[in-house]
């Protein structure tokens, strides 16, 4: 049973295609890193897969009715927007919007699990807008967890976080996948992606450039063609280590 299946997914802005021919399947247990330079179509892919923007082709999520889709997949948008100074607990509880017919006790239990998982119990009464960037990111991830959908789509979840917070986010996602869910996260940090993801999808100018385990995707050829960089990728006693070395003149 796949949690997401797209066939020939494409998006056009006016006459020019920004994403085309994306066919892929994501199964439970996978932590997928969505890679690509700025403008490669990562955000567009996530939004099209969710049915938030008009697209051609098929996406198993986009074809669901909106209420059902909210229980099949949760989404962490790129801008960490929290418009009002709501308490952390209330922000996390917003994830329960996806379950209009759940009982109050079920809602509360889900919110408590999400707060505990992200270590937010001590902050639960604090105003979410007064928190640090890392704490806000944790709050919003907890909100997505409270939605309790099997698939999580996250758009640059590690952007602007300190190293410990970045690793914490990646470990949380890896745990979710290990527990039988799946995560698709767009990432700019190839090192984090190499270490934590089970699978990488590389987008280049709106098309699928590579798809597979980290070693098979982060090849010198792919890095040169898509990112214009060269890098060292090594299996060490600490696991897979990736370090960009320099640019390649185009």
């Amino acid at each position: 049973m796949n949690l997401l299946e797209t066939r020939d997914l494409g998006v056009s802005r006016g006459p020019c295609p920004v994403l085309h021919g994306i066919t892929l399947r994501v199964a439970p247990g996978e932590f997928v890193g969505l890679l690509g330079p700025n403008g490669a179509g990562k955000t567009t892919f996530l939004r099209a897969a969710l049915g938030l923007i008009a697209s051609s082709g098929q996406s198993s999520l986009a074809s669901l009715p909106q209420g059902e889709r909210a229980r099949a997949a949760s989404f962490l948008p790129q801008g960490r927007e929290i418009a009002w100074p709501m308490p952390v607990e209330a922000v996390v509880a917003l994830g329960r919007t996806a379950h209009p017919s759940a009982t109050r006790a079920t809602d509360r239990a889900a919110v408590e699990r999400a707060l505990a998982r992200m270590g937010l119990e001590a902050l639960r009464h604090r105003s979410a807008t007064e928190l640090s960037g890392g704490e806000q990111a944790r709050t919003l991830i907890a909100r997505a967890l409270a939605q309790e959908a099997p698939l999580l789509l996250a758009d640059e979840p590690t952007a602007g976080l300190d190293p410990a917070a970045q690793i914490a986010v990646m470990e949380t996602f890896a745990d979710l996948a290990a527990a039988g869910g799946a995560v698709i996260a767009s990432l700019h940090d190839l090192g984090l992606a190499a270490r934590h993801c089970t699978r990488l999808i590389l987008l280049h100018r709106g098309t699928l450039a590579a798809d597979g385990p980290p070693r098979a995707v982060l090849t010198p050829d792919n890095l040169a063609r898509v990112f214009g960089i060269r890098a060292r990728l090594e299996d060490t006693s600490d696991g897979l280590v990736f370090q960009p070395l320099g640019r390649i003149a185009p």
Partner: protein, 331 residues
């Protein structure tokens, strides 16, 4: 520690009830407490009954409606646009309703029959809603909605100025000026009957979708991914706000700052949750307009001080104070 929500609502309801009673009991005709209650409920004393039932009661009911409409629509607009500076007039309804009223005064229709003015104002409001939905319907974005609202407001304002500019009759011009200032004086039960359906429609459209406003706190994409139909929500809220503001402006003229300040005042008290802010803000708006309407009667009983002038006079400095305070919180 914050007051629990039911306690806050009970407190605000009590405040509204108090203001409503005070509005009935305070006025230029000095009537004793027992006399006024006797007249209101049992019709004792012909002149007093007339004052209570035909003058003060409609005025108090309209204060309740207009304040509630402004407070509710202000909270809705701020929640929908995720901006504490949004106000009910933003979608152009109040300016368009004012234009309708001004045309009714200028053409003499308002003098010909009583309801011409509020009906023309409602027609103006409806035209603005049709325009804004055509420009920024279900597929439009919030930015398009704001820009369309600004455009419609500017157009209606310009046409109002044109009418004033070309007005050959100085009396009509001054009548227009006074009407625009906003007032609840000399209204009748007919005005109450006219405004009522719009208030009911506005509330009926807004409350069922209130939970969507909470989800909108995290942005439109996040809300949509949580199952909120954002486009539908936006249309329902725009139509609801237009019904509330159109109805209020038609019977009371332009009363500023209530829709902006009241949601601000109560936001902290409801834990900043947009959906919980709606009922609280409606009650707070009622209390504020009733209080302001009592104040205009007490401050200058014989000068006909306009309600809208007072709310702006009190509201603007208060608003600056709020900005100053929030700036301190940020620093």
């Amino acid at each position: 520690m914050r007051l629990p929500y039911p306690a806050l609502i009970a407190l605000l309801t009590a405040l509204v009830a108090l203001m409503f009673a005070a509005s009935l009991l305070i006025g230029p005709a000095a009537i004793g407490l027992s006399d006024s209650l006797g007249a209101l409920f049992r019709g004792e004393g012909e002149a007093v009954t007339l004052v209570m039932r035909e003058v003060r009661l409609p005025r108090a009911i309209l204060g309740l409606f207009v304040g509630g409409a402004l407070g509710l629509s202000g909270a809705m607009m701020q929640g929908m646009l995720r901006n504490p500076l949004a106000e009910p007039g933003l979608i152009g309804t109040s300016a368009s309703a004012a234009l309708g009223a001004v045309i009714a005064i200028q053409t003499g229709l308002a003098a010909a029959f009583t309801l011409a003015l509020p009906l023309a104002a409602l027609a103006g409001a409806m035209v603005s809603v049709a325009l804004i939905l055509a420009l920024a319907g279900p597929r439009g974005t919030t930015l398009v909605l704001i820009l369309a609202g600004i455009g419609i407001s500017a157009m209606a304002g310009a046409l109002t100025s044109l009418v004033l500019n070309l007005s050959p009759n100085p009396f009509a011009a001054s009548e227009i000026m006074f009407w625009i200032m906003g007032s609840l004086a000399d209204r009748s039960m007919v005005h109450v009957t006219l405004a009522l359906p719009f208030m009911v429609l506005g509330i009926a459209l807004a409350l069922p979708v209130a939970r969507g406003l909470d989800a909108l706190t995290l942005g439109e994409d996040a809300a949509a991914s949580m199952g909120v139909r954002v486009g539908r929500l936006r249309v329902l809220l725009v139509v609801s706000a237009a019904a509330l503001v159109g109805g209020a402006t038609a019977v009371a003229g332009a009363i500023g700052f209530v829709g902006l300040v009241v949601p601000h005042l109560l936001r902290r008290a409801v834990g900043a949750r947009p959906a919980l802010l709606l009922p609280a803000s409606a009650l707070g708006g009622s209390a504020m307009v009733l209080a302001a309407d009592i104040a205009v009667r007490l401050i200058a009983p014989d000068r006909d001080l306009k309600l809208g002038v007072l709310t702006a006079l009190v509201g603007a400095p208060f608003f600056l104070h709020l900005i100053l305070r929030s700036r301190k919180e940020v620093l």
